[in-house]
Amino acid sequence: MTIIKPLALSISLAFSLLLPLPSTAQETSSAATQQLSPQAKGLTIAKEMKARDRGWQDSSADMEMVLHSGKRESRREMRILALEVADDGDKSMTIFDSPNDVKGTAFLSFTHTNAMDDQWLYLPALKRVKRISSKNKSGPFMGSEFAYEDLNSFEVEQYDYRWLRDETVDGQDCFVIESTPRDQYSGYRKQVAWVDKTHYRVLKIDFYDRKDTLLKTLTLSDYKLHLDKFWRPTTQSMVNHKNQRRTEVFLRNYQFGTGLDESDFTENSLKRAR
């Protein structure tokens, strides 16, 4: 008998760490949003965040994940390629470099704005490509404190919003907005995000579980500006308040416009990804 090793469930949409939320552009006047209801104001902020992240075409980056559990530390390294798709979600490929026993494993994902995502996993030991279900959103990614859905690209349509208040984080003026996932498979009741008013970058997110208790906090820092337009965090730190574990993600060597196209995101290219 042959049962495939299911990294399937331990690998997911890692790429979207590539496409975190906002970027610079012309600054929207917060005066314009002042007269709106909290819901409308929240939505306006979310739309502006997404609008500022259009036009990157394709990108790649190296990602390192460090899992802290008590005194133990464990590392995962991967490379992430992404392609912006007009009028739909983006395409991405994640190639694993460590731990050594998953080296060469690769994951291909087509996100869709209005349908279930398409996902494939390549298992080098069997040279087999496996189609996998994209419903598993709340499970841990590679044993880390990140769930798959934390790594998904941000799509405005996936949440309902509410502006809560304005607040300062590390000296930066922020909107505090609450997002409620529309997806019944989400593991969260809500997320509360701190978004800086100047560049619409997410600085912090509190995740509340289905029972509405605070589960995790993500802090995004060391933002760098790419192509004069796209802000990307270098460091992301997720702390789980229930088990006291922490996972850090470092994204390095960002490249944009590297000439990737549709043919780099196929089952065949997945098989030869190294």
Partner: protein, 403 residues
């Protein structure tokens, strides 16, 4: 072991190494040791009950031309303390590949997988099974080939020319999991007068459309699955493999819907010329359903159910002529990527014919995996193919060091 030469370094090194600029090469693989015990006394006296073995499987590749060209090597060697026939080496891969805008060409030894089901792989025919390596048939021998793939919007067409046949290798006298009497190696018989030099051909079209994956395949040449004939050997009786010429058409399909994965594989095989092989139809169909986050630790449980049918009589059909496979996969989603696979194959015509497996593995530190495997075989009828290995249930424990 990863490096990418920058232009300056490349210029200074190029004269010495003749490496293309920005070439990328890497060495990886694993070394493993396994201990295996067969709790039941063997069917034949010559067969042992314990074995220790060691395996090394290094892999090396080099990419150049911005990754459009690559050379790939994957070697394999196992030493087995019990069975000299199981001490064996193989070149799983040794090929050059060029990738064009919508095509790929590979020349050399390679391994190719086709199909979607888990309990058996009917459609998968390019490579010979590495029969002595494991009981699950997952391991394959490297196959010399010229492989051209055309990747279009309407699907992928694969064309294979397979110039050299790889005969199956069988466990030796002292080994377990073998026929009784033993099947001898290096005494194969062929229908083709060209023997192992008969050139085989294969074609495949495969496509992905939304929630559907579909593949149609065709193969003509030497059957990977042998027939057996009795020969006299060292003053006694032994079996020898006979490889007929066949033509095989196959279909594989998969439909994904939420947590459901529906799977189908079917083949029709017919003999060519005066082939003694029975014409046959066979299929495997079933599903996989995944329960996610079944407890507070976010374990996942995937359940599998597959039914297999084969038009041949029991003796020729192997173990899947009218069988139901039920199984599951438990993923702990922990830092060690621990998982447990289990399954039971039950013959629906014979309540006393079944096999079961449990496989578990977990990571120790960053580079070692601990793997345990338990196989159970049960059969009481001597015309059942499982009967020969009815006393060969085993427990194996192993460590694999990845580099």
């Amino acid at each position: 072991m990863k490096y990418c030469l920058t232009t300056l370094q490349g210029l200074s090194l190029a004269t010495i190494t003749l490496l293309p600029l920005c070439a990328h090469s890497e060495l990886l693989g694993y070394i493993g040791i396994q201990g295996r015990t067969y709790p039941m006394s063997a069917a034949e006296q010559a067969q042992g009950s314990e074995t220790l073995s060691a395996v090394i499987a290094p892999e090396w590749f080099r990419q150049w031309n911005d990754g459009d060209d690559s050379f790939n090597i994957k070697a394999f060697y196992r030493y087995d303390s019990l069975d000299e026939e199981r001490s064996h080496g193989d070149l799983r891969e040794f090929y050059w590949q060029h990738v064009g805008a919508d095509w790929e060409l590979s020349v050399g030894i390679n391994t190719v997988f086709w199909g979607v089901t888990e309990s058996q792989q009917l459609v998968d025919i390019i490579n010979q099974t590495d029969f002595v390596e494991s009981a699950d048939g997952e391991d394959k021998l490297g196959q010399p080939m010229i492989h051209f793939a055309s990747i279009k919007g309407w699907g992928v067409i694969d064309v294979f020319i397979l110039p050299q046949f790889r005969p199956r290798q069988f466990a030796g006298e002292a080994g377990r999991l073998r026929s009784t009497p033993a099947t001898v190696n290096n005494q194969e018989f062929y229908q083709s007068s060209k023997k192992e030099n008969h050139i085989d051909y294969a074609l495949r079209w495969s496509h992905y459309l939304g929630d559907w994956n579909l593949g149609l395949s065709w193969f003509q040449g030497t059957s990977r699955e042998p027939l057996y004939q009795a020969i006299s050997h060292n003053g006694g009786i032994a079996l020898a493999a006979y490889y007929p010429l066949i033509e095989q058409s196959g279909i594989d399909a998969q439909y994904i819907s939420g947590n459901w994965l529906w799977k189908l594989e079917a083949i029709h095989r017919r003999g060519i010329g005066h082939s003694p092989a029975e014409d046959l139809s066979a299929s495997t169909a079933g599903f996989e359903y995944t329960f996610t986050g079944i407890n507070r630790r976010f374990w996942d449980l995937g359940l599998l159910l597959e039914y297999s049918w084969d038009s041949r009589s029991t003796a020729q059909a192997g173990i899947f002529q009218n069988d139901l496979f039920t199984g599951g996969r438990l993923s702990l989603n922990d830092i060690a990527s621990s998982e447990i696979l289990f399954g039971l194959s039950q013959d629906l015509d014979d309540a006393q014919s079944r096999s079961a497996v449990i496989e578990a593995s977990t990571r120790i530190g960053d580079t070692v995996r601990l793997v345990g495997e338990l196989y159970h075989f049960h059969s009481t009828r001597s015309d059942d193919p499982l009967y020969m290995i009815r006393r060969d249930s085993y427990l194996e424990l192993g460590l694999e060091f990845y580099f």
